[in-house]
Structures are given as C-alpha cells and as structure tokens.
Symmetry: C2
Subunit: 258 residues, 2 copies
C-alpha cells in the first residue's frame, strides 16, 4: 500500500512524525533525492563541485538561501521536516541523527537535492533486466575508486561508484537506458576489470552489501551519490546536514528518462 | 587564414594586444564562449541562475575564486587578457570598454564561461540547412520575450531568444541537431507564432539584425546568451565584466554534439 502513496502524502507522514523509516518502495514511480544542507558560505563551492561532477552529483533542486522549500521539484515541501531521518555533522563528524531539523535551521542555510539511482533501476527492471541487489533484497554494493573528482574550493575527493553485475548484452542495454537518466547518475563510468579503477576486492564493498556475480556477468559501475557525502565530510564544514542513508526526500517528479 | 589559427594562437594574439576585433570565423571548429566576471559575493546566485536556466546559460567552465585560468576548457589561458575586448559595468551601467582587465582583476573575482550558438550553427550548415543571418552576412536577430527565467537570489529577468527562419522540414532536423548541443543552448524553445512568446514585430529585433523570412518558412526560436547579460545588468552588482558583443573567448573544446 505504501507504494501507492503520493509524494505529498509521504512528505506529510514525515512532517507529522509518522514515518521515520527508509523510503525505497514508497510512492512508486516518483524520483527520490539525496539531501545536503550547508551554510551559504560553503554553498558556492559545493554548487560548483556538483556542477563539475554531474554524474556523481546530479542536481535536482537547490533552494534559495534560508528557504526550506524545494520550489522546483516539490512545491509546498519543507526540507526541515519532510524527510524521515537526518544526520547532523559538525566539522565532518556525525553528532546526531534526528527526525526533524526545524530547531537547527538557520537563515543562511541552502538545501541541495541530488538525484539517486532508484530512477534508472526502475527503468532497467521495467525492460526485464535483473538488478541483483534488488533480487537479493540487499543494499547496492558501493566502492571507493582511485578516480579523483574535479575539486571545487574546499570540496574534493575520489569518486564512489555503485555496481550492478550484468551479462554483456544487458550491460549494453543498461548503458542505453541509463544514458536517458542524466539526473539519476546517467551512463556507467566503467565496466569490467574492477582493479583498473582502484577496487581491490569486488566482494568487499566499502558501503552497502556484496552481491552474487554469476558466471558470464561483468561488473558495471555507475557514479554514486555517496561521492558528495565523502567530499562533504573531508571538507569538514562547521555544520552540514544530510538525509540518513536510505531515508530520502521524495519529489513530485516522475521517474522518467528524457 | 584566421580560420586556421588554433585556439592557443588566437588567445596569444589577444594577450599580446594584436587581436582586438570580433571572433566569428576564427579558429574554426572550436567552441567560443561568452564571459561573465563577478565578485564571489554574487557568484553563488549567478551560478544558481545558470543552473536553473541551462538553455539560456549553458556553463562551459567556472573558475575558482581569484583564478583567471579556465582550467577545464582552456588550460594555460588567462581570462584577463585572452579575449579581444571587454565591457566593464558598475551597478549595471557600462563604464568602459577595454582590451585587457589585468588592472581591474580582484582576488574575489569568479569567471563564468557560457556556451553560444556558433557551435550548433556550424552543425546545421554542415548538414546543408541554410542559416539566414550567415547567408545575409548579418548578426543573428534576437528578441526579448515574455517568458520569465527562473530567478536565483538577485538575478532575474525574461528570456532573450535568437531566431532562425526555416522550412518546417528543416526546423524538425534543426531540433534533432541542436538537441545534441546542450552546451550551445540545445533545442529550440518555440517555433511559429512569435506573439505567443511576447514578440510583437518579428522584423524589429531587440538586438542584432532583422533577416529575410521567405514564404513557407517559420521562425524558430532558441534561448540566447544575452539572457544572462540582461539578468546581470538588472541585478546591478557593484562590478561586473563581460566580453564585448562578438568578441568571444575561444576554448580548446571542439564543436561537437554528444
């Protein structure tokens, strides 16, 4: 039933404290987003970091300074209440996890909403391509790579990738399909030999869960939304707030390629 | 002969004061860019304005604060010297036109390079579509519209469009071709009835020159790089520097669609 909720209904449940659990599977068909909140003093650098690394950080919306409403992708929303759970960082250290950030909000805060891979996974499943971590009911495996992002001001770091094992024929179709979703990380950045991008053991992801790679399948790697989180924590701004992993913001925008 | 110069050679001629004339036709095949220079205090708002209005303001490169090198699209360049001519604005008023801005450069300046339509026009000509203002050796006709841009902080304004008259069959091909150039304004924003977007007289452009519209042709409208200039002048920042019209920055990036 939760799959049939509208985005407005999900956000309202979050706002009233009735929903504090992960969002995968909720409001099916609508784009979910990563959240980053930063003071204005860091906002130019972070916006520039996203602009320079669009595959890792596809921007769905950026709020005006001090405004908590995502006016483009979710009119009427409130980023301070409409996610199920938030993480608060001081100088790059996690200090607390909360379900509401109204008491922390400042007039110099800017909210960034960054696309995630849920949109293109739905499109892959729709054409009959199996997505292993969904089949195995796991979190997608994610890896740190040796590929440096383009830095911007105080923000820098290496690219983090997610991996889906696919038969070569499905990998080719997956390139076609995900190319149509530039706001959900777009086309893969690599396939095949994991060591070429600095991954030593494909069975030991740095984030998420290992998944089965069957005979004949190749690992296919996409830029991942954990990348800006790593850059954020390395930069150690005085304060930053993000969604808690898996506890995303649900926009009014339908999952659809161009 | 000037068509055969490399981008580095053109920039060197500008840097040494030997080239102070318009750039169309120079270094054929390479992407030319509009320049906007602003203090850091306005840079977040302007970057966000460009991000929210990507058809009018496709960003090719943004410099680090205080850095005059366009490191992504023209390594080794110097935005203070490598354009033939600049315009300097104080509080939205043109105060001087110069060929070098080294004496004006500040450590809080940020440079923005914005794509222009030369790239897609070359692609249209290459497939045999006639581009009227090129045939008639004129500047492209440009019009103010009644379409509001998405504002960002202090920056707002209506969309400015360029117009090329085309037969319907060529207009359709032009949509296909220009869609492949998102960094050169991409696909058109309108075709047909000019009054629907607030243009009263197609024969009286607000900028550039009127061109002949032959029987059977429809006007086709693209978002235009004059849009951010209008938004910039309306916002009246204490200081802003741009290229002089037609006196563009030549990047090392080849004109090519994705």
């Amino acid at each position: 039933m939760k799959a049939l909720l509208t985005p407005v209904e999900v956000r309202q449940l979050c706002r009233t404290g009735k929903l504090t659990t992960p969002t995968p599977g909720l409001a099916n068909g609508y784009t979910q987003a990563n959240l980053v909140v930063l003071p204005k003093s860091f906002a130019f650098d972070f916006l520039l970091f996203c602009h320079r690394n669009p595959k890792a950080c596809p921007l769905l919306d950026v709020t005006e300074v001090g405004d908590a409403e995502a006016r483009f992708v979710a009119p009427g929303s409130d980023l301070r209440t409409d996610l199920p759970r938030y993480r608060v960082f001081h100088h790059g250290e996690l200090v607390e996890e909360v379900t509401d950030i109204r008491h922390l909000w400042r007039q110099d805060f800017v909210g960034f909403l960054i696309g995630c891979s849920f949109s293109f996974e739905a499109a892959m499943v729709n054409v009959g391509i199996s997505v292993r971590h969904i089949e195995e009911n796991k979190n997608v495996p994610m890896y740190k790579t040796n590929i440096a992002c383009h830095s911007a001001g105080i923000f820098s770091g290496n690219l983090v990738v997610s991996m889906r094992p696919l038969l070569p024929v499905d990998a080719i179709r997956a390139v076609q399909i995900t190319s149509r979703f530039p706001l959900a990380h777009g086309a893969p950045i690599h396939w095949g030999a994991a060591n070429e991008i600095g991954i030593e053991n494909i069975n030991q992801p740095d984030f998420g869960d290992a998944v089965t790679i069957n005979s004949g399948e190749v690992p296919v790697f996409w830029a991942c939304g954990v990348t800006p989180q790593v850059a954020l924590l390395q930069a150690k701004p005085e304060i930053a707030i993000t969604h808690s992993p898996g506890h995303m913001f649900i926009t009014d925008v339908k999952n659809q390629g161009f």
